[in-house]
């Protein structure tokens, strides 16, 4: 129990730290940050497993809701829950669950390939479904229009999926006892 709480808190903090480290948060056209925080979401799902990974993300979201400016670009507080990117936040815990479950199912293919596929499905397909739906609802754009708006983020996320899978393999190799 205590180990679970500590690891959950660690990954929540890791997602926060990924938003803080300046060389990873690249300000992109007009100030939209390409955030490394989805990398943290992918790692939480891969390393902690589906349920603890989702818990870590819920704790992180709770901390943001409490007012800590920990989202990429120094955003935080309740404003983000009524903003156009709220769908991505809602999708994060679901993405972690899908990534964790899929990774276990695919593990027979080897940790690297399983990690990449799990992150691509959970961290891109599932996450963007939520993100696009949220964007469409908040801005009253059509789904297709919302899809074209977020397309610019996808190449970065494919790269993140590969990085997350690599890190996961290395961490598990060094700590084989890392139970999930």
């Amino acid at each position: 129990m205590e180990t679970t709480v500590a690891r959950v808190a660690l990954f929540a903090a890791l997602i926060a730290a990924l938003g803080l480290i300046p060389q990873i948060t690249i300000p992109f056209a007009g100030g939209v940050p390409i955030t490394a925080q989805t990398l943290g979401v992918m790692l939480a799902g891969l390393i902690l497993g589906p349920w603890r990974g989702a818990l870590a993300i819920l704790v992180f979201i709770a901390v943001v809701a409490l007012g800590a400016p920990l989202l990429a670009g120094g955003r935080g507080g309740l404003g983000v829950f009524v903003g156009p990117t709220v769908g991505f936040l809602v999708g994060w815990p679901v993405a972690a669950i899908v990534i964790g479950l899929l990774y276990r199912v695919l593990l027979g293919m080897g940790p690297l390939l399983a990690g990449i596929l799990a992150c691509a499905v959970g961290g891109i397909v599932v996450l963007y479904a939520f993100g696009i739906a949220g964007l469409a609802i908040v801005t009253e754009m059509g789904l297709l229009k919302a899809l074209t708006v977020v397309l610019i983020f996808i190449p970065g996320d494919i790269l993140k999926a590969a990085i997350a899978a690599f890190i996961n393999r290395e961490v598990r190799r060094a700590r084989p006892g890392l139970a999930d």
Binding site: M1, E2, T3, V5, A6, R7, V8, A9, L10, A12, A13, L14, A16, A17, L20, I21, A29, G30, G31, V32, P33, L43, I47, L55, V59, F60, A62, V63, A65, L66, G67, A68, P69, L70, G73, G74, R75, G76, G77, L78, G79, F81, V82, G83, P84, T85, L135, V138, T139, E140, M141, K145, V149, I167, E170, V171, A174, R175, L178
Partner: protein, 197 residues
């Protein structure tokens, strides 16, 4: 928190629960208003309120979402419905400003108390909620600790090599952070963990 804090006495003294309820009510209400003129009037009222409590600095919280708002506005505009685009942008801008104002005028401890009250039904159902509070406190402590650990590893690397470290440090960084978390868990157990009241 949220980078800017609002010092206006009366706003800080309002109970956090009341502010959150009002925010929720206004959020729902705004989605039923489709007239840009009314929304513009509400936004103007919010701006007057911000100026009144000396919090115009909160306007900069709109910058990160400005790009998305602009895209939404253009997307609607190109479809020939500039008014809808305007309505949407006014509504989101107003909501984000109000929500940020609530966050900026409420202490973290008050927000935690509200969260604790929201979790009360779980407690009545026999689910222990103390780990939630502990996890949140640990997250707030771990976040700056991780940033510091990353810097330390970077300095240790630079002391030994002229090349740039970056990706080579990621795995050792995560491993040492995982070890830190397990040590914290051991310390928690040694002090009674979650068994003791």
């Amino acid at each position: 928190m949220v980078g800017v804090s609002v010092q206006a006495r009366w706003l800080r003294r309002l109970p956090a629960g009341l502010k959150l309820l009002a925010l929720a009510a206004i959020s729902i209400g705004l989605f039923f208003i489709g007239d840009p003129a009314i929304l513009a009037a509400i936004l103007a009222a919010v701006l007057v309120l911000l100026a009144g409590v000396g919090a115009l600095g909160l306007l900069r919280t709109l910058r990160p979402i400005g790009f998305m708002l602009l895209l939404a506005f253009l997307a609607h505009g190109l479809l020939g419905d500039w008014m809808l685009g305007l309505t949407v942008c006014l509504r989101i801008g107003t909501l984000v400003l109000l929500a940020t104002l609530v966050s900026a005028s409420t202490a973290l401890s008050e927000m935690l108390a509200v969260l604790d009250r929201l979790l009360a039904p779980l407690r009545w159902a026999g689910v222990p909620t103390r780990p939630v509070g502990v996890a949140i406190a640990m997250t707030l402590r771990f976040a700056p600790m991780l940033a510091q650990r990353w810097r330390l590893l970077g300095e240790a690397w630079q002391a030994r090599s002229p090349r740039r470290p970056l990706w080579r440090l990621v795995v050792p960084f995560l491993l040492s952070a995982l070890d830190d978390a397990d040590h914290a868990a051991e310390a928690l157990v040694a002090r009674g963990g979650f068994d003791r009241r």
